[in-house]
């Protein structure tokens, strides 16, 4: 198995652990975006360009944005 895929897998595991380990939900939006990028690189190296494209658009832009907007709404109503 190639070295690039092994490095990408390690990065994915580290980024995933970082998302869970982030204490504040606001910080999780940023780490979730970075995690989406590492997943995109892994999918691209595993010869899945369609899935990499979907993960990039969804995980790096849409979901972190919705998380931050939800947090903003919740903090305004607290």
């Amino acid at each position: 198995m190639s070295l690039a895929i092994a490095v990408a897998l390690v990065l994915v595991a580290l980024a995933g652990t970082a998302v869970v380990a982030t204490a504040a939900a606001e910080g999780q939006a940023v780490t979730l975006s970075v995690y989406g990028l590492t997943l995109t690189v892994l999918f691209f190296l595993l010869q899945a360009p369609d899935v990499a494209l979907a993960q990039l658009t969804v995980g790096a832009a849409v979901v972190p944005l919705m998380v931050m907007l939800a947090l903003r709404t919740i903090s305004r109503h607290r």
Binding site: A6, V20, F43, D50, A54, G59, A70, H77
Partner: protein, 115 residues
Amino acid sequence: MTVFAYGVAGWLLLIGAFGIAVSRDIVRSVVCLSVAQSGTYVLLIAVGYQKRAAAPVFGATNPPSLDVVDPVVQALTLTDVVVSATVTALLLALAIQVAKTHGTTDPDELSALKG
């Protein structure tokens, strides 16, 4: 290396579930659920991988051949990624409503049913 790749997928699932179990904020639970779901994507794509094979898209530079990675698992994962983003949106909307009704997002304090 096989065990390592599938082990990373299992690790992501378990660490996401752990995040859901210990978080003190339901928005954090939703994000950790997203991590757990992505563990299944890694597993599916890794199952379909073939060494030194091309992507399952043919064009002018690569004529059709059987030496490509598995396209069926990629199709499964592709729709899964987009659909779980919309389900995450639904969960976040629920979290907003819970915060408005109960004033708190701590799951340990959300024990009573309230209209």
